[in-house]
């Protein structure tokens, strides 16, 4: 069985803090990490490798330093890795991102399963997985938290939704987006990295020409949406802090609540 896992390098937004005075983001010193859902996708892929000798390839599109997330994937136990890097890929919306990743997967060619994270913690759209499935004409399951089994060319999964959960059977090849799995993803290990490094082709680097893409379908030029502006979320009311001892503050508060006809 051959599995492709798509992983994205993201800034660790859980570390991001607001500047108390200006209300702007402080991003200095924020680490780059493997997107959390993608680590979970890697874990599910590597469990299949443990169980049935699947061959796992990690693929990432990003600037040259995104090679770090692929090293981490190899350290976790992936067999091969591909970095898609080219100035022409920059500024892609999810339409152009799914074209780029879709073409890279077509070039890899031989695969049974594609695993993505459900959502990246920077762009936050959760659109890339389903758009790649559509590009490749594959069935999809989003928000998968467990792979029950792979048998006779079919995969059975459970996935969460707003109402509860579903069990689905998909004929392979298929695409899954992964989130909230029940086990913690494994840590990268030096030994794995060295093993992977021994093989010549551990991390391949492909550009636009390698995946047979025209610049007009990539990056900002190939995108259908544009970011027009970004700003910090506004906090719109200035809180009035009540003063006095506890009974006084409470009585003033309840007075205001009554005035606003809330009781």
């Amino acid at each position: 069985m051959k599995i492709v896992v798509l992983i994205k390098q993201v800034p660790d937004t859980t570390e991001v803090k607001l500047d108390k005075k200006t209300g702007n983001l402080i991003r200095e010193g924020v680490d780059s990490i493997v997107n959390p859902d993608d680590r979970q996708a890697l874990e599910l892929a590597l469990q299949l490798k443990d169980d049935c000798q699947a061959m796992v390839t990690a693929v990432s599109m990003g600037p040259p330093q995104a090679v770090d997330v692929l090293s981490e994937a190899l350290g976790m136990g992936c067999d091969a890795a591909v970095l898609l890097t080219d100035r022409a890929f920059a500024g892609a919306d999810t339409w152009a991102t799914s074209t780029t990743l879709g073409k890279a997967i077509e070039k890899i060619g031989d695969f049974d399963l594609i695993l993505c994270g459900y959502q990246a913690i920077d762009g936050d759209t959760a659109q890339t997985g389903p758009q790649i499935a559509e590009y490749l004409g594959l069935p999809q399951a989003c928000y998968v938290d467990n792979i029950e089994n792979v048998e006779a060319g079919k995969i059975t999964v459970t996935r969460r939704n707003d109402e509860g959960y579903e069990r689905l059977s998909l004929t392979l090849p298929a695409l899954l987006t992964v989130s909230k799995i029940t086990v913690a993803p494994r840590y990268p290990m030096m030994g794995n990295l060295i093993d992977a490094g021994c093989e010549d082709a551990a991390i391949q680097i492909w550009n636009a020409v390698d995946i047979g893409a025209l610049n007009s379908e990539l990056g900002m030029e190939g995108s259908l949406t544009q970011v027009v502006k970004t700003f910090s979320p506004k906090t719109k009311r200035a809180g009035e802090l009540l003063e006095g001892d506890v009974p006084e503050m409470v009585s003033e508060l309840l007075g205001k609540v009554r005035q606003a006809h809330l009781i």
């Binding site: 991001v16 989003c142 509860g164 579903e166 004929t171 009035e240 609540v257």
Partner: protein, 394 residues
């Protein structure tokens, strides 16, 4: 391809630094420069008032889309019941359509849905397109993509809004790819640009730390998923709607044939609709546990409201997950939201800051929750809430 700054034109105003979501612009001396890890997202280009941010991306011609008209909603129903977000979207669609001088349409695929048409009309739909078939009783994204794509191609809307429910967020991207249309995720604000007459779609990104406004100039329909609980439904009196019954033919594509639902489990408890409550009393880590939540419950009861919690309170098991408020929980906008022992992290505020009135009780005067509160009390909730109960004679 890329972005750079013409230092001759740069006046060092730093607008581009603020605009960059990736922190990829820095000052070198009194001029801005673009750093290596720039993703060329373009936010700085729009921010610069000196025209100093340059790009070699050729300005593309915007095609003529005058044959695309109407603000359409893709409604969602389950077991003969509409998802409330569909009516919220119709409310927003009415406003957008008024601004554009266009009509509101709705597409509703499913089974056992014919009875829902009057409700859709009452909440603002002028054209209702029903795609009813037994094959759509069990939701599958591959089949729904086929059916909805066909209808969108037929009606050519200018704008298509979809609820950012678990279904919507997996269907919309697949549909957008099929329609060759741009898509904006999980929007919390929509408006029409007064000059270009295009849809400006604002959404939180970076875990709610950044708001981004997105435009889809190069494709139609302009598609957006919209966060449930954010827009307002709006009933209109005596409205007449045209109802079209669409004949459904489920095509046998490989993707449709490849997917089968084995089991659907509905967890009844997930049904709590916090966003229908008039008053919500919410607790966080500062409640200290079950004892503290007893107080929250009593206060909620006193107001005839519902209990809610932060993600921490959910993780601690003090309040069930379906009562989590915030970015990964529910978005609520009650008349009154009382936040007790809640710090007010951006992910929590994202779900409650549109409440009509907000009260915050926290012992730390610097807690960010006070910045969104109308009235705040700095103090220990274990003293304040009992005093409230006493004074309310509860």
């Amino acid at each position: 391809m890329g972005v750079w700054i013409d230092s001759e034109l740069c006046n060092g105003c730093k607008r581009c630094l603020k605009a960059c979501p990736y922190d990829a612009v820095a000052m070198r001396g009194d001029k801005a420069v673009i750093l290596e890890h720039c993703t060329a997202c373009g936010a700085c280009i729009e921010a610069c008032r000196q025209d100093a941010v340059k790009t070699d991306v050729v300005a593309r011609e915007i095609p003529d889309f005058s044959d695309h008209r109407g603000v359409w909603v893709l409604a969602e129903a389950q077991g003969g019941e509409l998802n409330p977000v569909s009516l919220e979207l119709l409310g927003e669609a009415q406003e957008l359509a008024r601004t554009l001088g266009q009509k509101v349409g709705v597409i509703l695929p499913g089974w056992d849905i014919a009875g829902l048409a009057p409700t859709l009309a009452r909440f603002g739909a002028a054209k209702i397109c029903l795609a009813e078939d037994k094959a759509l009783a069990t939701y599958r994204v591959e089949i729904y993509t086929e059916i909805v794509a066909e209808l969108v191609a037929e009606y050519k809307p200018d704008i298509l809004l979809i609820g950012a429910t678990s279904r919507g967020r997996e269907l919309a991207p697949r549909l957008a790819r099929r329609l060759k249309a741009g898509l904006t995720a999980d929007c919390t604000m929509l408006e029409i640009d007064p000059d270009e007459k295009i849809l400006l779609q604002t959404r939180p990104a970076f875990g709610g730390n950044v708001m981004a406004t997105i435009a889809s100039r190069y494709s139609r329909p302009q598609m957006a998923t919209v966060r449930p609980g954010v827009m307002q439904p709006c009933e209109c009196e005596g409205s007449q709607a045209e109802i079209i019954n669409h004949l459904v033919k489920v095509p046998e594509t490989p993707a449709v044939a490849a997917a089968k639902v084995l089991e659907v489990v509905r967890e009844a408890k997930r049904k709590v609709r916090l966003n229908e409550a008039k008053v919500i009393v919410a607790g966080g880590r500062g409640t200290g546990g079950e004892m503290g939540f007893k107080l929250i419950e009593k206060l909620a009861e006193g107001f005839g409201g519902e209990v809610a919690g932060t993600r921490i309170a959910v993780e601690e098991g003090w309040v069930p997950v379906e009562r989590q408020v915030g970015q990964t929980g529910q978005a609520v906008r009650p008349e009154l939201y009382i936040a007790c022992g809640i710090s007010g992290a951006v992910q929590h505020r994202a779900g409650m800051q549109d409440s009509r009135y907000i009260i915050a009780i926290n012992k730390d005067p610097g807690a960010p929750i006070f910045s969104v509160a109308d009235w705040g009390i700095v103090g220990d909730l274990h003293q304040i809430i009992p005093e409230m109960l006493t004074q309310m004679a509860l």
